[in-house]
């Protein structure tokens, strides 16, 4: 007994002595941490700092939370800000309700055994995701344009021509239409992630389920879905972050003014206008930084919810 205890102690001491500094950990981490810190974190703090200052008579004066008071209180800013925030939330809701379920459905269909042509489907469905916003924005603008008439022409085939209106030009539809264009573009990402997760489920688990008579839809809901929950968590948070940073699609399709009448304005375009100015308004880097700070806080809140409420409750399986 005593010798055993001594041996354990010796071994513990030995391990402690054996690795005083594990250089390889530093070597593995250093390049990523250096590049990341220099080009992302430090500039970000520069911006957060900027939001607390204001340019008065050519010099930066510390104004505390003054810029935020302007943003929330001054009607010149607050009307646009709340509008952009509301639009952004709607933009996100559409992605969660349309993009992710479609992505999961497609991945589930693609991963079904003995289905042919899956490589073709996978490649084709991912095509929109590789296109740039410039292409997507312009192409859909052309398609939905009443001048060209492709959309009403197509709707005529299924007898829905009377439902056509120039969606991008109408205040009540423009944001939803653009959200769906964005869904169209990005559905490949949840599809690929879920697909990879589904493929990584070992055959033994599926075979065991089949032996127990769990097949088809029941197999998906009861066996596969719980196993891919971590991936669904990841795609949800990716969608959240992506949507609250979005800018390019709205910018290429509707311009910096996010028309008609700001109905497609989201935080990204609002930030751009505040930061760089447009038409009559002069760019104000400090107000831009304040908006950027708000966006940062919104996203931070979302990620905290994911990390501390969602991720910790997900069970991870090691096969």
């Amino acid at each position: 007994m005593a010798t055993k205890l001594m041996a354990t102690k010796l071994m513990a001491a030995e391990t402690r002595a054996k690795r005083p500094i594990r250089w390889h950990v530093g070597v593995f981490l250093a390049p990523a941490v250096l590049v990341y810190t220099a080009f992302m974190i430090l500039p970000l703090f520069g911006t957060l700092q900027l939001s607390l200052f204001r340019n008065i008579e050519q010099s930066q004066v510390f104004v505390g939370l003054g810029n935020f008071r302007t943003l929330f209180g001054d009607p010149n800013w607050s009307v646009n800000f709340w509008n952009a925030l509301r639009n952004n939330v709607w933009f996100f809701i559409i992605h969660m309700l349309v993009q992710n379920p479609i992505g999961i459905l497609l991945a589930a269909l693609l991963s079904s055994p003995r289905l042919r042509f899956t490589a073709f489907y996978r490649t084709a469905i991912f095509v929109p995701t590789i296109l740039s916003f410039v292409i997507v924005g312009f192409a859909w603008k052309l398609i939905l344009s009443p001048i060209w008439g492709v959309a009403p022409h197509l709707m005529d085939f299924v007898g829905l021509k009377s439902f056509f209106t120039p969606w991008l030009g109408k205040e009540q539809y423009a944001l939803t239409a653009l959200s769906l264009v964005s869904v169209w573009q990005f559905v490949g990402i949840p599809m690929m992630l879920i697909y990879a997760a589904l493929l990584s489920i070992p055959d033994e688990v599926i075979e065991a389920a089949e032996c127990d008579g769990v097949t088809g839809m029941a197999q998906f809901w009861k066996i596969k879905l719980p196993l891919i929950l971590p991936s669904i968590g990841i795609i949800s948070i990716l969608t959240f972050v992506g949507n609250f940073n979005a800018f390019d699609l709205i910018y290429t399709a509707q311009g910096a003014l996010a028309g008609p009448n700001y109905s497609t304005d989201i935080l990204g375009t609002f930030l751009y206008r505040a930061f760089f100015g447009f038409q009559l308004q002069v760019g104000d880097p400090n107000m831009g930084a304040a908006i950027a700070t708000i966006m940062f806080l919104i996203i931070l809140a979302g990620v905290c919810v994911y990390l501390f409420l969602v991720q910790t409750r997900l069970r991870r399986y090691q096969f």
Binding site: H24, P31, G46, L109, R114, L131, I135, W148, S200, L307
Partner: protein, 279 residues
């Protein structure tokens, strides 16, 4: 027997859904490319039919090639994307391995610190980045873009890869250690091949925003020499708003190289995903 009879309608249903979605995904692309080869009358008269000898017209392409240097822009985009991708994957996998494999003081803090970048749009730091590039004389160089894109891609790469690396069996790595492999060998020879499918996925996710980015080329490298294809196309489209032939031709030229690149790359990707999904 019952499964055999039941699986046919199910397969048909699956094909129907997938085909429908494939059509939705490809329709705009095909429409744009098809119409870029038509005359103005053809584009508006019969947008849904392929070009016929009567409507075939390459005026759009002549305009585009007369105006912009798209091949040069394409080269710039390629250099920036490939270099950034290489650094993101290498540095990202190394950091993800360190975080998921070793328990060291500050591990969780380091993980959170690196994950911070997933939620922070790197755009928010644009002013400070521009100041930094001006100070180091990197404005209007591709190096500036590569550095920024590497920083931009790393957090997500580390986040996803460490999720996957946690699933690599500890027994395997410990067996390697017992056999006397160094930590570097374990990483490069054992772990990297096992997470290759997820590396392919990360590569696609990293590559797309870099290739498609408009913001940083506009701010950090807008000179004629360093223009990327996205920026070139955006400026071109802005100039030719009412010239539909030119717009459709420019869009097609922006689509086709990426599409070809993607078809070549996707074989690799799909083989990666299907061959050895982490087990």
């Amino acid at each position: 027997m019952s499964t055999a009879t039941r699986s046919l309608p199910r397969a048909l249903g699956a094909h129907a859904i997938l085909l429908t979605y494939t059509a939705i995904a490809l329709f705009p692309v095909i429409l744009v490319v098809m119409n870029s080869f038509k005359s103005r009358a053809g584009i508006f008269g019969a947008p849904l039919t392929p070009p016929t000898p009567k409507t075939l017209d390459l005026i759009g392409y002549t305009t585009v090639f007369g105006q912009g240097d798209f091949i040069h822009y394409f080269q710039n985009s390629l250099v920036v994307t490939v270099a950034s991708l290489f650094f993101v994957l290498l540095f990202g996998a190394m950091a993800a391995f360190a975080l998921s494999e070793y328990r060291f003081r500050g591990n969780t803090m380091m993980g959170l610190y690196l994950a911070l970048g997933i939620m922070i749009p790197i755009r928010l730091g644009t002013v400070a980045i521009l100041q930094l590039m001006v100070a180091t004389g990197l404005v209007n160089t591709l190096t500036a873009l590569i550095l920024v894109y590497t920083a931009q891609g790393l957090p997500l790469a580390i986040f996803i890869l460490s999720e996957f690396m946690k699933q690599v069996s500890d027994d395997l790595k410990n067996a390697g250690r017992i056999d006397g492999l160094s930590e570097y060998t374990i990483f490069f020879r054992l772990v990297l091949p096992l997470v290759r499918p997820s590396m392919a996925t990360v590569a696609v996710f990293t590559m797309i925003p870099i290739w498609n980015d408009l913001w940083f080329p506009l701010i950090l490298a807008p000179s004629e020499d360093t223009k990327t294809v996205t920026l070139g196309a955006q400026l071109f489209l802005g100039q030719f708003v009412t010239n539909w032939n030119a717009i459709l031709a420019a869009l097609s030229l922006a689509i086709l190289p990426v599409l070809i690149l993607y078809v070549i790359f996707s074989r690799q990707l799909i083989r990666g995903i299907t061959s050895g999904a982490v087990k």
